[in-house]
Assembly symmetry: C2
Homo-oligomer: 181 residues x 2
DNA sequence: AAAATCATGTAATTTGTTACATGATTAG
DNA sequence: CTAATCATGTAACAAATTACATGATTTT
């Protein structure tokens, strides 16, 4: 049920098409929730059937028509109620850390390369988040209430990201020592 | 395919029963991977069929018999190869952060309570990890290679956990201001 | 001409969760 | 006698991934 509510959350301020939602899930919202376009399209159909979303077709010049979805009154109510539902504790899953349990002199270099690549990726993501923060959340105290929540989520993502970078450095140092031994 | 390899990883040093594995997945390994006992039992059957694990029944006094699984040579090889497979980028999923996107004066108190509860949970987890660290990883430089990897995973978990605590404090402060406004 | 982006979908499979089921032993 | 722990499973359902599919437009 959570993907449904993540999608509705993305639609609070703007009406979006499935394609646009999929891109959002890759970018901003994607730090906290991931979904493929296939999943999104199926969920959109279900949500429209349930009357939590309405749809309208928008013709564009030079591009295929798109189907834009928006929250209905019922959808907004369902979303507001969902906040009080029991939060399912997230299932932690990170293959890379499991792989580290299998560290050997043989694979140390490979794992170091993987960590270095992830570090790069995280740097790029953090750069984007920092831009968003400066543009929209530079003065958190003056934000409207709901946006303070978004700001907190952003802080969580940035904090985790920065912590990850620090860990990568430590890991790479230790792995270099293993590899040269 | 990743649950299979997480299970095999848990069996590198010790042979374990499904029940024991399920507990491990709740505790130490569970920081990085989660699995229910139902999933574990099914995966164990598959792995045994594939000859990556062997099983033997152990009778216990005063307790039901247990079926203990151990890695075969083929299993160890498969695990070693897996380290070089493409690591699937983890799907970030945290309902709580999505809920924060829906912050309002009405639900601020509820969300603060949820965050406070998570903070407590994380404190307990970190306490356990700190005990493990002191007991087994107090002197990382002198660890055997493979255990250095486990140590790095532990560091990642602890770093993320501590970062989460700091974030909780910041979030609770901001939410208190929202609630009293 | 080829590749990338825009746009939407179906089908098959795998993975994960929830509910149901059993039965013994131990601690309060 | 009640609850908790030990121990293993099946079945139904929901969620997610992978593969397949189409077709227009824009950029290189």
């Amino acid at each position: 049920m959570a993907l449904a509510h993540a999608i509705m959350t993305a639609l609070i301020d703007d009406d979006l098409s499935g394609y646009e939602l999929a891109k959002d899930f890759e970018a901003s919202l994607g730090f906290f929730w991931h979904a493929s376009h296939q999943q999104i399209y199926q969920e959109l159909h279900k949500l429209a059937d349930r009357q939590w979303l309405n749809k309208r077709e928008v013709s564009q010049s030079g591009k295929p028509n798109k189907i834009v979805y928006g929250l209905t009154g019922a959808g907004r109510k369902a979303l507001a109620r969902w906040v009080y539902d029991k939060t399912r504790t997230q299932a932690a899953k990170d293959e890379l850390l499991i792989k580290l349990y299998n560290l050997s002199t043989e694979n140390a270099r490979h794992l170091a390369a993987e960590i270095a690549e992830r570090r790069q990726q995280m740097m790029r993501t953090l750069y984007l988040y920092e831009k968003v923060r400066l543009r929209h959340y530079a003065d958190p105290a003056s934000l409207p209430v709901r946006h303070k929540g978004v700001y907190l989520a952003l802080l969580a993502g940035m904090g985790q990201g920065e912590q990850f970078l620090a860990w990568c450095d430590e890991a790479l140092e230790l792995l270099a020592a293993v590899d040269s031994a």
